[in-house]
């Protein structure tokens, strides 16, 4: 049987220690991004909003405070509220915990979207290339190799710089458009090896159409592989997006993790020692990428037992 029971595979993966660790850590940040806002009174931009009739009006003290500071804010209508800045405030007095939570949301969203775009593109192109072969393969692989050699980051900077308004979705799109070659190359070689296996040849002899063979025979055998490629795209996208944000080419409409770091640098947070401004966002990026690494590592051990070490 060439086709593994999929549920079985998932079960095996979940029993792997490295996979458990990576998956747990990632889930922790996803859940944090989802429910984190419950623990603060501040909106995404770190300001305190008060509903006055139909509009919401922002107010903040403008005080620069360290983590776990309590302060009282006078709202627009003259009320006094006591608030807690879990991670302190930035130089303008905006709450950093709120920025971090919402920034994490943006970063995860961008990365997920970019990973999906990059993976779909890469899988399709790699598939067609490996399955069709011949000159189609030659041309597509030429494009892939060209894209691999040109550093994606400069291409990203170039495109981002030409765009004056940048939404998270646009950023995800351009990251996805530069990230796919890795997936394409891996999927192509996988397709090549699957294509010549017995069960695919049998299907072809039985006169099944290309599409039937691709979705019925080849795809199911590649799910885990494609998933791993997607994970790598995700971590690559987190890094690219943070780098773009950090250079100052991030979304203009949203706060993101890289964005917080950029502002920290711009306001000399390093020199003034405001560690709560720049340590948490970087640490989160690092831990998310570590988590993704471990997920992949665990899956690789499940699918490629040669890397498993005796006794583990």
């Amino acid at each position: 049987m060439p086709r593994r029971n999929r549920m079985e595979t998932v079960k095996i993966a979940f029993r792997n220690r490295k996979f458990q660790f990576g998956f747990g850590l990632l889930m922790f940040f996803v859940i944090f991004a989802l429910i984190g806002p419950l623990f603060t009174n501040f909106a995404w931009d770190g300001l305190y909003y008060e509903k006055v009739g139909k509009v919401e009006l922002a107010s903040y003290s403008g005080r620069h405070l360290p983590p776990m500071s309590r302060e009282e804010i006078w709202t627009y209508t003259g009320k006094k509220v006591e608030v807690l800045h879990i991670l302190g405030t930035d130089i303008q007095g905006k709450d950093l915990y709120a920025q971090l939570v919402y920034g994490l949301r943006t970063s995860l969203w961008i990365a997920a979207l970019a990973a999906i775009i990059g993976t779909i593109l890469g899988v399709s192109i790699g598939f067609v290339s490996g399955y069709k072969g011949g000159w189609v393969d030659e041309i597509l692989m030429m494009v892939v190799n060209i894209m691999l050699v040109i550093p994606a980051i400069v291409l990203l900077i170039l495109v981002a710089a030409y765009l004056s308004a940048r939404s998270p979705e646009i950023q995800a799109l351009i990251i996805g458009l530069t990230g796919w070659p890795w997936v394409a190359r891996a999927v192509r070689s996988q397709t090549l090896s699957l294509k010549n296996r017995e069960f695919v040849s049998l299907a072809r002899l039985a006169g099944q159409s290309d599409l039937r063979i691709i979705f019925g025979e080849i795809m199911p055998n590649m799910v885990s592989y494609v998933f791993m490629a997607g994970i790598l795209q995700f971590s690559g996208a987190i890094l690219s997006s943070a780098t773009l944000d950090f250079i100052g080419l991030g979304p203009t409409t949203m706060v993101s993790l890289g964005n917080i770091l950029q502002k920290a640098i711009a306001h000399n947070a390093l020199q003034f020692g405001w560690w709560w401004w720049f340590i948490p966002p970087g640490l989160i990026i690092t831990l998310i990428i570590t988590a993704l690494f471990f997920i992949n590592l665990g899956m690789e051990e499940v699918f490629n037992p040669r890397l498993r070490r005796g006794g583990e």
Binding site: V149, I150, A152, A161, I247, L270, F294, R309
Partner: protein, 330 residues
């Protein structure tokens, strides 16, 4: 012989890549909505009144923006071969000059960082591949290092080593009060400024090399040829020697593939340390929409990466006979 064919093929591929990159570089601004030159000139560059019209005129003529597209394309190439990459409005200097001044700074931090991290990372990874106990403790660290964005690690270095401990300077390539010369004072000042940017690139890269090498070593130590050597009474040292040699080969190719990521690292790191390399040029150009500078810097980066790839490919053909043979057959 295989090598000539290999060389010809690689040269062809890189030439096409170069053509493609340059074309892309030329095409992108033209694909974007609006007139990039106008957008650039009307952005906040602080131009004097009248200056904008003069520059518009200058650029339109220089690039013949009123001419048909194909002619613009040809002109772009012609000026490229004359070494003319346009004029930076931000710095008020020819782009070629700016790049010429910035490039040495990239070389001094990137080259040692790449080479040393490759050597040290592979060395540490090789130990991890052979020693299980050591492996257990170091691998999580390597994964953590490899996960770190370069610029964040750079920020940590600035904060802990530069600001808190006050051990080393962390802004610029040398003290602006010192006039560059070959004096001892200048050189030591330069080196002090060099250490942190270098370290930030060096240390982060160690992680991914170590991980790659560790996996390769485990893989190679179990290869058939190693078992054979062992069966014939080869010593532990001999087995390791053969396995290492083959494990290091993919790491050489990996070097080429990693270059793109290192460029990203370098740009972000230079930003943190305000180190006057091409990275800072790119960032400033991007933020002020100084498109000619951006295009020029992009070309420079692409050419360097292509050249490095080409050199690595050639070295690789010499050290791995498999490459040459694959080109003799077909």
């Amino acid at each position: 012989m295989g090598f000539k064919k290999y060389l010809a093929r690689k040269t062809g591929v890189y030439l096409i890549t170069f053509l493609f990159a340059v074309t892309l570089n030329w095409l992108l601004p033209r694909l974007m909505p609006g007139n990039p030159i106008e957008a650039m000139l009307s952005s906040n560059l602080g131009l004097a009144p009248g200056e904008k019209e003069v520059l518009m005129e200058y650029y339109s003529q220089l690039y013949g923006l009123d001419k048909p597209l194909w002619e613009q394309f040809v002109n772009f190439w012609v000026s490229l071969f004359h070494g003319d990459l346009g004029y930076s409005i931000l710095y008020r200097a020819p782009v070629t000059d700016l790049i010429k001044h910035a490039l040495p700074y990239d070389v001094v931090i990137l080259l040692p960082a790449i080479v040393l991290s490759w050597v040290v990372g592979n060395w540490l990874g090789a130990i991890a591949g052979k020693n299980k106990k050591y492996d257990r403790y170091t691998m999580p660290l390597f994964y953590f290092l490899a996960s770190m964005p370069y610029f964040w690690f750079a920020m940590l270095l600035v904060y802990f080593v530069g600001v808190r401990a006050g051990w080393l300077p962390y802004q610029g390539a040398y003290d602006p009060a010192i006039i560059p010369s070959l004096s001892f004072g200048f050189i030591s000042n330069f080196l002090q400024h060099w250490i942190l940017p270098f370290l930030s690139l060096f240390i982060v890269q160690i992680g991914s090399w170590a991980i790659g090498m560790r996996n390769m070593i485990i893989y190679e130590l179990e290869a058939d040829y190693v078992r054979y050597l062992e069966a014939l009474g080869g010593s532990e040292k001999l087995l390791t020697k053969h396995a290492y040699r083959n494990a290091i080969l993919p790491q050489v190719t990996g070097l080429a593939l990693q270059l793109g990521l290192m460029v990203a690292g370098a740009i972000a790191t230079e930003t943190v340390f305000n180190y006057p390399g091409i990275g800072v040029l790119i960032m400033n150009a991007a933020l002020s929409q100084d498109y000619f500078l951006l295009q020029g810097a992009f070309l420079m980066v692409v050419i360097s990466v292509l050249a490095a790839n080409f050199i690595i490919d050639i070295i690789y053909a010499f050290i791995d006979p498999r490459v040459r043979t694959s080109y003799t057959e077909g």
